[in-house]
Symmetry: C2
Subunit: 331 residues, 2 copies
């Protein structure tokens, strides 16, 4: 079973694979870009994945067979194990717990080559509904404190398979950066009695210098202190701390805004590798006045990863106003 | 002039290049691996860099000419500007300051191909003395609050030039992760009345499961909650919060330990890209009982950068005990 270990200085929890530990020679192997009959995420190859957890599929078609348009399967090489009880122990001065959690793959469509911005609106909307369905199901499990939904697109962004997919990790702790973000937002709220994200949206709409796109329910901006060139945040205009509360018409708007934003990013940067992460409130903290769920899209086009990973000190070579202009003007 | 901007939620400062802003097409250009007469860091090419700030050189040789063995020059494309006064301003709800700082390059030797572990002991010792000399000089400048010394080795770790070099960035703020580390260490001290790093060293030496190498003054370990496979921390055995207090005999030991650790890393992982960072106390906080300077070496062999950069949630596929065993047993 994997282990969660806590850094005794910073307090950051790290997932450590102790079973199938990677040896030095494992790192030089290139991960293959499976296509056609090799790709475990393509329609017809359902047997190449573990049995599906959920799928949206044509009536009359059977589980783990063709006929689906969005499909969720367990990650074949999960970072955390779903079976077992949570057990915290010490090891001298150190703290650890067994690596309980869930690690799932959301296959965005049966089509190997279509990225989000190339899918039809309904398909993207259904991907969003699947995200929500999985959170609703997993949050019933009292061992879990947080659910991270994210996408790695391209090898430089950490993807090992090319077929478009997102991932979900349910964790027994609230990750440190999530806690930091929620606490930061709370400090602002305690001082101003306003949500910091609502204030950001208001200032951005009024200044109109970093807006990428806007519709009735969502706004996409390049944030004022963007860490990465062409970073984009997609924010719901209505205050809500929990993604799960999204309404039907908002799902339609979000699908359209994600297609719009990622389409612009792909045109401007010529299909860059990127990650997006849904920033959501911790599972056991409902209806926060100070927190505001949103999605952060981070292109992986700069290579200063290690230094910045180590220090949290980012150098962004593209002014957010310039990036927003390029994105906004891209047709 | 570059700008420092503060994220209003997290409080993280980011350096934004506003002058020479990178356009979308700039990111696809590959950075060349200059060699021979093209390399600005090779002996004989001193005119290809800005005038040198410091060099250790043969008596009788002249500034910006051959004859040096360690050489410090301003970064040709600095992240921060050294001229100007510090000026903090608001922009609505946002906070920023002008990007005052220093950005220098420490050329480790005139030899284009020799990595640290291949240099002789005296040469590595002199690189360490140069680091110290530059901190002593720059900390006189009251605009600076922190000095980061780090190395990017290999393109995947952010290096744009192959000739071995380290870098130095002096900043007008204490970076958030540094503050977090110092505060974390202080919490431990407040509770235990002991330095957390001293306790780590004690437990590691007693357990002997994650030791990579040890000499009279330094110990190299794979940390208990390592974020990256084969991550190594080099810690001075004697408690001191400030790298600048290093004594003569300790410099000799550190040079030997860096050669030893990096040699093992290079053998085990076949010359991997990596970063190292000197973790030192903030400039204006001398003699801290709770902080302990050290060096963190982070191989850049995993590609999950974006997701982990965004969340601070690390998945390490190699158990630290396994990594330490491979490193320790490498001859």
């Amino acid at each position: 079973m994997p282990e969660l270990r806590r850094d005794p200085v910073i307090g950051r929890w790290v997932i450590i694979s102790t079973d199938r530990s990677k040896r030095p020679s494992d790192f030089s192997k290139e991960t293959g870009n499976h296509v056609g009959k090799d790709c475990p995420f393509c329609a017809g190859n359902e047997k190449l994945t573990p049995p599906e957890i959920l799928s949206y599929r044509e009536p009359g078609t059977r589980k783990d067979q063709e006929g689906w348009w969005v499909r969720v399967v367990p990650n074949k090489y999960p970072a955390l194990a779903v079976e077992g009880t949570l057990n915290r122990t010490g090891e001298g001065m150190y703290d650890k717990m067994n690596g309980i959690g869930a690690h799932e793959v959301i296959i965005e469509s049966p089509d190997h080559d279509k990225e989000i911005h190339e899918l039809n609106d309904k398909q993207v909307e259904d991907i969003i509904w699947v995200f929500r369905d999985r959170i609703l199901d997993l949050r019933k499990d009292s061992r879990f404190e947080y659910i991270l939904i994210f996408k790695n697109r391209g090898a430089a962004a950490g993807a090992t398979l090319a077929h478009p997919h997102a991932q979900l990790i349910a964790t027994p702790i609230v990750p440190k950066r999530v806690r930091e973000e929620v606490n930061g937002a709370k400090s602002y709220y305690d001082y101003k009695e306003r949500c910091v994200f609502c204030d950001i949206i208001k200032q951005e709409l009024s200044e109109n210098r970093r807006i990428v796109a806007e519709n009735s329910d969502f706004v996409a901006i390049v944030p004022f202190a963007a860490r990465f060139p062409f970073e984009i945040w997609v924010l719901p205009k209505k205050h809500d701390s929990d993604f799960v509360d999204i309404q039907k018409h908002e799902t339609t708007s979000l699908a359209s805004m994600m297609k719009n934003s990622l389409g612009r990013l792909n045109r401007v940067l010529n299909n860059p590798p990127y990650n997006y992460i849904i920033h959501n409130a911790p599972l056991r903290e409902p209806h926060l006045a100070h927190y505001h769920w949103h999605i952060e899209i981070m292109p992986a086009i700069t290579k200063v990863a290690g230094f910045e990973r180590g220090t949290g000190f980012y150098i962004n070579p593209t002014a957010p106003e310039e990036a927003a202009k390029f994105l906004r003007e891209s047709e």
